[in-house]
């Protein structure tokens, strides 16, 4: 079973890397860019076939390690295939 965790900065945390990408794109002449956000995605292969169990386990991984709740929000998807 495969899971996908998407981690974003919370609103209000200014992401210097996203800002730099936006600036660089403008510098290259891509004027139509109005906003850039980065998402850190972590894909996991899991040893289980139970979507519920997988989801619960990955949620716990987020709480314990993958995301820092002070600055980040994480969302978990379970991809049936894989």
């Amino acid at each position: 079973m495969q899971a996908r965790v998407s981690i974003r900065f919370k609103d209000g945390v200014l992401d210097p890397e996203a800002a730099a990408i936006e600036g660089a794109l403008r510098g290259l002449g891509f004027d139509g860019v109005r906003g850039v956000r980065r998402v850190r995605v972590i894909e996991l292969d899991l040893d289980t076939n139970e979507p519920e169990a997988a989801w619960a386990s990955v949620e716990r991984m987020c709480e314990r390690l993958l995301a820092n709740p002070v600055i980040e929000d994480a969302s978990v998807e379970i991809l049936k295939e894989g």
């Binding site: 992401d15 210097p16 390690l65 820092n68």
Partner: protein
């Protein structure tokens, strides 16, 4: 005084910090491996700089979950002195001992230079005896030193006098120029991006690091 410095995989200022404790405080320093689950009671615990776990995931994130940190948190809450420069600061925030988080420098590049810092919170074992407003010159060397804390958290830090140091000329985009933060029941935990352990002798270009370490003898 009983002192130790913890080594995580990828720590690289552990020796420097131990040497500074020895030189400035005249103590013998135990070196502690991150897999230890029980520690003797220490008066002073150093969480060193470096790149624990290669800064992977988030700087300090993986180290903060290593077995030894539960013990460090326990002793910190008991009042033990815990000093974390640089990666140590990142680890202490990730472990929840200090509020806020550290993200990529505003300029995106690694920055290694000496910076001027202003002493602010003087009610701590580290800064007691230092004059509020005094300037310290210490080296920084980091890629992820941008201190982030929300408005509420900032108000609380300011209200409680727990901002130990601010940058004179903000090198990394830290909120409110914050360079070092105090925590623990008696402000016994200090996390800071600068490296006091690199400024303890004239030959290294300065001795201002002693100003933060020497007061610990009286703590």
């Amino acid at each position: 005084m009983r002192a130790c410095v913890v080594t995580f995989p990828g720590s690289n200022c552990d020796r420097d910090l131990a040497v500074a404790f020895e030189r400035v405080l005249g103590v013998r320093v135990d070196r502690v491996w991150h897999k230890r689950t029980r520690l003797d009671r220490y008066d002073l615990i150093g969480i060193p700089g470096g790149f624990s776990y290669g800064d992977h995931l988030r700087p300090g994130a993986i180290a903060a979950r290593s077995p030894v940190m539960q013990e460090v948190v326990r002793q910190a809450n008991d009042g033990a002195l815990v000093l974390g420069p640089c990666n140590g600061f990142q680890i202490l925030t990730e472990a929840g001992l200090l509020p806020g988080a550290l993200i990529r420098n505003r300029g995106l590049a690694f920055v290694c230079r000496r910076v001027d810092l202003v002493v602010e919170g003087t009610d701590s074992p580290y800064t007691r005896g230092l004059e509020r407003g005094r300037t310290l010159r210490l080296p920084i060397a980091h890629h992820d030193g941008g201190y982030v804390v929300d408005d509420e958290g900032l108000r609380r830090l300011e209200g409680e006098g727990r901002i130990a140091l601010r940058y004179k000329d903000n090198p990394n985009g830290s909120t409110a120029d914050i360079a070092g933060v105090l925590g623990g029941p008696r402000n016994n935990v200090l996390g800071l991006m600068p490296h006091p352990e690199r400024a303890i002798e004239p030959l290294l270009g300065g001795v201002d690091g002693r100003a933060l370490l020497a007061p610990l003898l009286a703590a």
